[in-house]
Amino acid sequence: MIHFDKVMKEYPASGRVLHDINIKIQPNEFVSIVGQSGAGKTTLLKLLLAEERPTEGIVFIEDANINKLNRRDINSLRRRIGSVFQDFRLLPYKTAFENIAFAMEAAGRSDQEIASDVPHVLDLVNLGDKMMNFPHELSGGEKQRVAIARAIINQPDIIIADEPTGNLDPISTNEVIQILQKINDLGTIIILTTHNKGVVDILGRRVITIDQGRVVRDDEQGRYSL
């Protein structure tokens, strides 16, 4: 489903950050990518979102070489990928409801669909009563749940979660991971980058370890080890 084929990425300023990456991810997989800061995890995710292009090699999603997509196709690719970030990245002047509605509007969904789906997904992440709150009125865990709701609203094939628990307390971390697991159970690929040993070990799923831009371990049922 996702295939990094001999991918190399080089920045003019910082040199080579990814070397010869070969990863295949199948539908239904829940993959954790671990590694020290600066190992290249975020760059890998940026390549998948077509925010960056590889210097060498190809990134495939299904059969499409995503580096050859034009702007319009990149937009529709991004609608098939939900993303969740450590810093939440919600739109500050929109309510929880509007933040999620925005992703649906961008995908060209109708007002009726928005009116019925958004409350439903907010209920799923336990935020039914905070629909009309602005991000600054929500706690870190709540913000992250809004971000997850936004990521799943268009029923994406893939969810990219870049250190989603980095700013959260243990209870919120747990909630977020449980929600991600639930989404994965419904058939969505989850790609999670994290520094949290506990999270990776509890999951007991595939773990890819990256060190200095290279894949050094790839275990089907891995544990966090650096």
């Binding site: 979102l49 925010e51 702007r71 319009r72 990149i74 937009n75 529709s76 690719l77 991004r78 609608r79 993303s83 990245r89 919600l90 739109l91 500050p92 002047y93 925005f102 992703a103 509007e105 961008a106 995908a107 060209g108 109708s110 007002d111 936004r150």
Partner: protein, 307 residues
């Protein structure tokens, strides 16, 4: 399509409303810009009209002898009109002059009586000649004098009057106005340029503060138009509202200064100028505001759409 337009419009309006303080700042800056442009329009209208008034005040009067045959007078008129530097020649026949004179002295019984007793009209016909440019008067005077001088003793012209002293005063005033217009327009152009730049930068800053938002919108797969649209709507709203505020403020200024401008600059009343030129003023002020808002938003957002 319609849904998108509706959503973009609504989002623009909501942005405007929720960013109240930022909107207020942008509105103020834009209002000042538009006011400067409006004052420029007034200023140049006043200067133009006073220059025009002054020019019209200078004329050459040609007085004909009473016995001058009308055909000769009309022939001379044709000759003078043929000169490129002549703007207009007004011909007042003997009867016209008499009527005008009587009209002026309608209250003076004595004079009117004297005319009646005289029986015959003692006044000769006259020309009022206006030149296209004040500097041309001397050559026109000379032309008329030469032309009628050739007729020798039997000249039909009694007198060509042209006040050199009046001309000098008017010349220096004209020079003053033209040079102040030149300096004025230079300063105003600079003002407009600076204030447009400030408005442009204010909007750039407003959008700079939204750059994170723009990148999030890109990441959820929103199209360029869908991201840019609301910002442009907000920019256009700044333009419309600032334009309306400026129009209103300018009207108050025009109303207040109207009577004194009539006295000082002669002729033009600022308030009536404003009303009679309202479509133009509206187009320039509101149109300018809308264009400024839309273009600056468009360019500012473009910078952050590269992801």
């Amino acid at each position: 399509m319609w849904t998108s337009i509706k959503r973009v419009g609504k989002a623009g309006f909501v942005n405007f409303w929720r960013n109240g303080f930022v909107s207020l700042a942008s509105l103020s800056v834009m209002t000042v810009t538009l006011l400067i442009i409006g004052v420029t329009i007034f200023f140049s209208a006043l200067l133009n009209s006073s220059l025009e008034q002054l020019k019209n005040k200078v004329d050459i009067n040609v007085y004909f002898v009473t016995s001058a045959p009308e055909s000769d007078i009309l022939a001379l008129k044709k000759d003078i009109e043929a000169l490129p530097e002549v703007k207009s020649v007004e011909y007042l026949s003997r009867d016209d002059v008499l009527n005008e004179f009587k009209g002026k002295h309608a209250d003076d019984e004595l004079i009117l009586q004297a005319f009646d007793e005289l029986g015959d009209n003692p006044l000769g016909a006259t020309f009022n000649i206006n030149a296209t440019d004040p500097s041309q008067y001397e050559s026109i005077t000379k032309f008329v004098e030469d032309k009628t001088g050739q007729a020798g003793a039997a000249s039909i012209v009694r007198k060509v009057s042209y006040h050199g002293d009046k001309k000098e005063a008017i010349d220096s005033l004209t020079n003053f106005i033209t040079s102040s217009k030149r300096i004025g327009s230079l300063i105003i152009t600079l003002f407009i340029f600076i204030s447009v730049l400030i408005t442009f930068n204010t909007i750039q800053l407003v959008i700079y503060s939204s750059r994170e938002e723009i990148s999030v919108m890109r990441l959820v797969g929103a199209s360029m138009t869908y991201i840019r649209g609301p910002f442009m709507v907000t920019g256009i709203m700044y333009g419309i509202i600032a334009g309306i505020i400026s129009l209103f403020a300018l009207y108050l200024v025009a109303l207040y200064l109207g009577p004194s401008t009539t006295l000082f600059f002669g002729g033009v009343n600022l308030a009536s100028y404003y009303l009679s030129h309202f479509p133009l003023v509206f187009m320039v002020i509101v149109g300018g505001g809308v264009a400024l808002g839309a273009v600056s938003s468009f360019l500012a957002v473009r910078r952050y759409l590269t992801i």
